[in-house]
Structure formats: structure tokens, C-alpha cells
Subunit: 195 residues, 2 copies
């Protein structure tokens, strides 16, 4: 009986990304031997998050009500377009100005049969038509799909005449030229700045 | 509000061993975006395991009732002494014969102020006195504390006249002599077998 319960717990942990049998087993033993309060807190936090958090009907990010805190409280004329809800958090940590967001929930990826209609581009156009934003920052990932999606959106928005920007591409802070790939270095040279 | 709930979930995941902020964040996003069934299964498995699994009053391993399945169903004259409940599972996967177990719940470790009375050695002696076991396999870890604990138990049990064995020490299957440490190689030479 105890074996079955423990095996079930190990299997349940393997649902988490990057967690194989051995790691799940370590987590399961921590649950069995760990402090009751911490364990119950983990279980209840999982349920609370799953039950209460949904997508914001405006930006598509995480929200606990129909509209998320940022969409409700911020009155910014800058809108930042990202691929996934979690990207909002990464940008929030980095940025020094307030903006609102628009989550695409994916990228255009012909190889995976995902076209422009499968991500939230239509909703972006609607928001831009409804409210006069002054700038759209396209912050999709700097990989093939993210670049393609950024180019597609840029071409679509050009006729509107709105200011379009993209995250700068260049060398990472604290990195080493020796280990910087050629494409990144070439982009960094291309976008060099006067000092 | 959503930020607070997500932060709480990330914090809760950091209770798991080896999980830092970034990993906890990935787990949290998987909970938010993953399949409802899998997520609820994880939470309920955690609660079920924590509520139902306790320590067996005989061997000290995991059990769902006062006595674990193995202690209740196995009638073996071989008893295998391990450090932690989880070690039972590792040995179960490897072994080809049935034995019962005795979990010490730790090792003797003067540096950490843990003496013989702090682990379940007294309980082991009681079990050996109560039932006539034919062999005690000491399967503590092959590290300094595990070795010291094994030596201590061996010296204690010698007068009883019971057969005492220890896991063989030698080269790992599939390994390479080049990468085998000297102590292990020396033990493997010492315990060489005729073929």
C-alpha cells in the first residue's frame, strides 16, 4: 500500500518540466520526511494558483479576475508584445519604465502548423485601434520563430504609422567576446553606439 | 493579486531539494499552464502521501498502517540494516532474495552530535533478541559516517554470534578503471574473486 502511494506521488512529480524518475523520487521523499507545514503549503499553493489564476481578457497575461492588475492600474501609451505570460515577469524585473503588455500565446511557426490566426495578433490590432498607443515594443524571443513573428507583426503595423521598436541585439553583460556567437557579435557591431 | 499568488507558489516549490528560484518559477508556470487533471493529481498525491504514510513501528521504513507491508508479509531470517527509509527502495530494486529491513534513521556522526543512542540501534538489538535471524546485512552508505556506523554495529553484534555481512566494495558495473578512485580500486583488489 505504502509503495503504491509513493509510486503515485513520484509519477505525479514527473509532470513537472525536466523532472525524471530520480528527481521525482527525491521530491517524493522530501514530501514524506519534510515539515508538515511546508508540504501542506506546497499542495495548497498549487491548488490556489490553479483555481484562481486565469488569463487576463485584455493582455492575455495571468490574472485573478477578468482583467489583470497591470491592465487595470497602468495607464501607459507603450505596449510591449511578448510570446508567453511568463515573459511579462522577466521584462518587469528588467525595465525601468511602466508599460502595458500583450501576450501572443505562441509564435508563428509554419513547421508546427501555427499561422498568424493561431496567436493573438487580431486582439493586438483591436487594442491598437481602440486606444492610441504611442509605441509598440516587440519583445518576442531572439530565435528563428520569435524573429519571424516580430517581422510579421512589424509589416502588419507599419501602415498604421505607429512607432515600432524591437529589443536591441548585442553582447550579453558580463559575457566574453570569445564565447559570443558570430550572429550576435555581427548584430552588436551593426548596432554599435557612440560613447 | 496574481503576482502574489504566483510568488507564493514559487516560494512553496523552493521547499523541494535542489530547487532554486528559476526552477521553482518553471514549475509554477507549468502548474498555471499545465493540464488541470495533472495539476490536481500532483496536489492530491502530495496530500495523500503526507497524510497516509508514516513510519513502520517494526522496521522504521514507510508504512500506511502501524506495520508496513514487508514486515507483515515477509518471513525472512535475513535482516538488512539501512540508513534511511528510501534506501529500502534502492535495495528492493537490486536484490534477488527476500529480506526484512531495519532503518536506522541516520548515522553515528560525532561531528553533528549524533551518537549511537540517536539512531535506532537499540531497536535493532531488541529485534535480534526477539526473533532468531540468521544474518544481518549492514547496508549503510560506503562513506565515512556509514562505515563508522557499520563498524560500531558490527562490534556490538559480534558477541551475539550472528552472521554479519557488509555490501561488497569494488568497481561499479559499466565503469572504467581510469575513472575509479584509488580507495575503491584498492578494496576491489583486496576482495578479488577467483573466476
Amino acid at each position: 500500500m505504502e509503495e503504491k502511494i509513493i509510486e503515485k506521488l513520484i509519477g505525479a512529480f514527473m509532470f513537472l518540466p525536466g523532472v525524471g524518475y530520480k528527481t521525482a523520487q527525491r521530491y517524493a521523499y522530501k514530501v514524506l520526511l519534510g515539515d508538515e507545514k511546508d508540504v501542506k503549503n506546497l499542495a495548497s499553493s498549487i491548488i490556489e494558483a490553479k483555481d484562481k489564476v486565469r488569463f487576463c481578457s485584455v493582455c492575455g497575461g495571468f490574472a485573478t479576475s477578468d482583467v489583470c492588475d497591470k491592465c487595470r492600474t497602468r495607464d501607459s501609451s507603450i505596449i510591449c508584445v511578448v510570446e508567453e505570460p511568463k515573459d511579462i515577469d522577466y521584462i518587469e524585473r528588467a525595465k525601468s519604465f511602466d508599460c502595458v503588455y500583450h501576450v501572443l500565446h505562441g509564435t508563428i511557426s509554419p513547421l508546427n502548423n501555427r499561422g498568424p490566426d493561431d496567436i493573438r495578433i487580431k486582439e493586438l490590432l483591436e487594442r491598437l485601434n481602440e486606444k492610441g498607443f504611442s509605441e509598440v515594443i516587440i519583445a518576442t524571443n531572439p530565435d528563428v520563430e520569435g524573429e519571424a513573428t516580430a517581422m510579421y507583426i512589424a509589416r502588419l503595423l507599419k501602415p498604421i504609422g505607429i512607432k515600432l521598436t524591437r529589443l536591441a541585439q548585442g553582447v550579453s553583460m558580463g559575457s566574453d567576446l570569445e564565447y559570443t556567437d558570430e550572429v550576435t557579435l555581427s548584430k552588436a557591431l551593426e548596432s554599435r553606439r557612440e560613447i
